[in-house]
Symmetry: C2
Subunit: 314 residues, 2 copies
C-alpha cells in the first residue's frame, strides 16, 4: 500500500488535457451505464459548523475504485486552517484491499470539479466562445476558468462577487497567474452581459443568477450547489434553457438546482450521455445551455485512478 501527500499529488496531477481525458472517461462510463454509484453519505457536525461527505463509484472493468472523504469545517479559517480537506482511498476492485491512500487535502476534488466544468463547456458552449463571466471569487472561480482554457480559447474574464475586495484580488490573481484580463462588475447581470460562458461558483442559498441576466447563446455552468439548502440559479433559467444538463439526475434533484424546481416538466440530460454521444448538445449558436454540477463519485474514481497511475510512474 502506498501513501501519497498533497505535494506529491499536486506535482503530478495538473489541469491539463490528460486529466481532462480521465474525468471525461468517467462521465462516458456513467453515460454508458457502466458505473455503480451509490448515493452520497453525508453527516453534519452542527456544533462545530462542520459536515463530512463520502462519495464513491466503481466503473465496471476498472481495476480500482476510490472512496473519497471530504470534511468541510467552516469555522476552520478562524483557527488558521482551510475549511475543506479530505483524502481519497483507492481499493482493488478485485480483492477490496487498500491499494493507495491519497492524502490530497481536497486537491483532487478541486481538479476534478474544475474539469467537470470543462467537460460541460466542451459539449455545450459555442465553439467560438472566448469570454467567461464568473460569479464568485473563490478557488473554483480560478480553476474553472483555467480548465475552460483546455476546451475553448478564453481571452477575457468578467467577475462579480458579493465581496468587491475579493473580486479585485481575483482579478489581480488571474492576470498574474494566467495572463487573463479580468473586469470586475458590480452585478451578476453586468458581468454576464457580454459572456459566452457563465460559471457560478458560490455557496449561495438564494439565486445569484436570473434568467434576464443571460445573453442569447450563452452556456451556464452552475457548480456551487451541493446540498439541499444551496441554490445559484433562478428556476426560470432551468425552465427557459434550450438545453438543460446535470451531472447526475438523482443528485441534482436531491442536492442541486433541480431540488429547487420540483415541478419542472422538461427534458433534462445527463452529462455522461452527452459525452457518449460525442457531439455538442447545442444545435444553434443562439441557444442557451445550462449544466448543473453537484459533484459525482465517478469523477473521484476517475481522477484517483489517474493520479495513482502517474504517481506509480505507470
Amino acid at each position: 500500500m502506498q501513501i501519497y501527500n498533497r505535494a506529491q499529488i499536486a506535482e503530478k496531477v495538473r489541469l491539463d488535457h490528460a486529466a481532462l481525458e480521465a474525468v471525461e472517461a468517467g462521465f462516458a462510463a456513467l453515460g454508458r451505464g457502466e458505473v455503480e454509484m451509490p448515493p452520497i453519505l453525508s453527516m453534519n457536525i452542527a456544533e462545530n459548523n462542520g459536515e463530512v461527505d463520502v462519495k464513491t463509484a466503481h466503473i465496471h472493468g476498472w481495476p480500482r475504485f476510490a472512496i473519497k472523504i471530504s470534511p468541510g469545517f467552516f469555522d476552520n479559517p478562524a483557527l488558521g486552517l482551510p475549511s475543506l480537506n479530505g483524502l481519497m482511498l483507492l481499493f482493488s476492485a478485485k480483492t477490496g484491499l487498500v491499494d493507495a491512500v491519497l492524502f490530497d487535502e481536497g486537491y483532487l476534488t478541486d481538479i476534478r470539479t474544475a474539469l467537470a466544468g470543462a467537460v460541460a463547456a466542451k459539449y455545450l458552449a459555442r465553439e467560438a466562445a472566448t469570454t467567461v463571466a464568473v460569479i464568485g471569487a473563490g478557488l473554483q472561480a480560478e480553476l474553472q476558468v483555467a480548465a475552460l482554457r483546455l476546451v475553448r480559447d478564453i481571452q477575457a474574464v468578467h467577475v462579480h462577487a458579493r465581496d468587491p475586495l475579493k473580486a479585485q484580488q481575483y482579478a489581480a490573481q488571474m492576470q498574474a497567474r494566467h495572463g487573463l484580463p479580468v473586469t470586475v462588475h458590480a452585478s451578476a447581470a453586468a458581468a454576464c452581459a457580454a459572456a459566452d460562458i457563465v460559471v457560478t461558483t458560490t455557496p449561495a442559498r438564494e439565486p445569484v443568477l436570473h434568467w434576464h441576466d443571460l445573453p442569447r447563446g450563452v452556456h451556464v455552468t452552475a457548480m456551487g450547489s451541493d446540498n439541499p439548502h444551496k441554490q445559484e440559479l433562478e428556476p426560470a433559467i432551468l425552465a427557459g434553457a434550450d438545453v438543460l444538463v446535470v451531472d447526475r439526475l438523482s443528485q441534482s434533484r436531491a442536492l442541486g438546482e433541480l431540488h429547487h424546481a420540483p415541478d419542472l416538466a422538461r427534458e433534462v440530460l445527463e452529462l455522461g450521455a452527452l459525452v457518449v454521444s460525442g457531439r455538442s448538445a447545442r444545435s444553434r449558436d443562439d441557444q442557451i445551455t445550462v449544466c448543473d454540477l453537484t459533484g459525482t463519485g465517478v469523477q473521484d474514481t476517475a481522477i484517483a485512478n489517474y493520479a495513482a497511475r502517474l504517481l506509480e510512474g505507470a
Copy 2:
C-alpha cells in the same frame, strides 16, 4: 496524524470489560438521541463478488468521529486472502482533519460486533444464563461467546452449523482457546433445546431459526443479517417474542430481520434505549427476548475512539 496496523491495534484492544464499556457508551449516546448517524453507504462490485460498506456516526461532544470502510470480497479465499477487510479513519470533530488511521483489517469490527451481542445479553438474557447455543461456526461464533462471558457466567456451548466439519473444528477451538465444553448438534432445534442464550451468526438467506426451536426463557441475538437478502429468523420469532429489540430501527427495517416482516405490528425497542434505562427489558424468567443486530456506525465511532486512546497511551 498517526497510522496503526492490525497487530498494534489487536495488542491493545481486547474483548474485555473496558471495551464493552466503550461500545455500551456508544449505544447509550444513541439511546439519548446524542448521535448523528447517517444511512450506510453501500456499493456492490458484482463482477468480483464484492461489496463495500461505509459507516459513520458522530456522538455530540465527543472529540473525534470515525468513518469505517468495510470491503467484503467473497472470492478472496480462493486467492488466499480473507473475505473481510477494511480500516477506520478517525477525524477531529472540531476541524475535520484526519487524526488517526486504523488499518485494523476488520479487527475492530469483529470486536465491536461481538460486544454488541454482549450488550444485548446484558439487558435481555436471564441473569442466571449459563448455556449458549450458537448457529454458525465462523469467527463471530467464537467472539460472541467470548463476549457473552463478560456479562454472564457461560459454562457450556451447543453449536449447529450447515457444515458439520466446521462445527467440529469450532468445538475443538472453543475447548482449546476458551476452555468451554462444546456439543455439536445436527439441527438448530437440538442445539437450542437447553439454551439460555441463542446466537445466530450466519450469512443465511433463509431462516435458520424457527419459533418452535426456542425454549421458554431464552434470549436470542441474531447478528448475521446486514443486507436485504439475508435472513436468520423466521418472522414468527419476531412476532412471538415477549420483548423485541434491534440496534437501530431504520437499519433493521432496511437490512435486518425486520426487513422480512414488513407487516409486523408490535412494539420494537432500540438497544440504546435499553442501555439508557439501565435495567433489563425482561420482566420474567420465562419470557423470550430477541435482539437483531445489523451493526451501527456508533459502535465504530465508539470502538475507534477507545482504540485510539489506548494506542496513544492516554
